[in-house]
Every structure is written in structure tokens, then in C-alpha cells.
Amino acid sequence: MDLDTAVKLKIYETIALTTHAPTAKDVAAALQLPLADVEAAFESLHNRRLLVPEPGDPSRIRMAPPFSGTETPFRARVQGKLYFANCAWDAFGIPAALHQDAFIEAADGFSDEPIRLEIKDGQPVSQPCVIHFAVPAAKWWEDIIFT
């Protein structure tokens, strides 16, 4: 297994287990690798659009999509664990990635009215709700944190 793949799997394994994104130092310790190698892998994964580092601190993870490294208004409760997602798509992406049912807690983007969604038996439970894409697909990664 190449270094990037080993680092990617350790990142996702850690988040799935703990709900928290590891730092480059955490990953280096877990894999018994030099910190510089793990930091290089973080950069490579970012270039492949699989990871977004925290602005100003490339050793910390802001996004390992669908997971967020920071608290956000998009929450997914899966088997008693609370995960944070980056957006509406990623809020559904967490149960998709974990292959588990989930409750999604979010809010209406305008009114802030709480919206609680459910993935049950591998499908979304129907209720009045729409998702708005403000940014065209070609522009998503120009400012992925805004997207």
C-alpha cells in the first residue's frame, strides 16, 4: 500500500471511530512514520481533492469529505456518535460512507428552523425539504469551504 493510501485510510478510520479528525502528528504516530512524510501525504491528498487542510495550518484537517474537522451546522448521528459534515450533501455522505442509518440535524438556510432528516433502512425518509446549489460544479473547488 502506498503512503497516500495508508494516510488516507488512517484519517478516515480515526474519524469513523472517534468522530474527530487527526492531525498530521497523530497520523505519523499511529503509522510510525516521519512527520514530514505524513505532511507530504496530506498535501498530495489535498491535490487529489480528498482532503482540505485548515487554512494557515496544513497539519490540521478542515475537511476529509464528507466529514468536517470542525463543528458545523450539519450533524449526523450514527449509532450514538455525533459527526459533523461540511454541507447538506456531506451530511448524507456520512451515513453513505459508514453504511449505516442516521439522523441528520440541520437547519433551514434562511429561517434557521431546525430540520431533522433520517436515513432509515438505507433510504432517506421523505419530508418537505430542498437543497440549493449556489455554486456551479465547475467552481466548487475554487472556494470549497464556501461551497
Partner: protein, 75 residues
Amino acid sequence: MLLFRSEETVKKWCIAHAIPLRPLIDLNQLWYLAMTWYGNRLTADSRRPGPDEMAGIFAQIGLAGPFWDPKADQW
């Protein structure tokens, strides 16, 4: 990408932020996108879809046109 209770609150949000109304999708379309994007994300082989794959995924749920084209320069 934000959630809204209805198209009405989307329109109010667009006016408040001076952003044009863009495409809306429903929960079933969102779940399809989530499964295709992230269903194998925790595996060694996972990767982000390329531009042509993305366009194909969008087309599967009726999302077509320049807005959904990752290679478009106008929309």
C-alpha cells in the same frame, strides 16, 4: 449547499444574499449523490470522481446543462 424547508425560503435566502436562484434537488437525488460520491470513501480504492464521471452521475438523476458540467466556463 444548503438545506431549506421549501423553495420559498430558498428564494428569500437568494434575495438576502444577492445570489441568483440556482438548481434545487430533492432528498432522493441528494442521497444518490451521497452514495455515489462517498459509498466507498473509507476504502483503499476510493477517489473523487473525475469531471466526465461527475457529469455522468449528475445525468443519472436528471441534472444536466452547463451548471452541472465540471468543465463548463459559462452557466
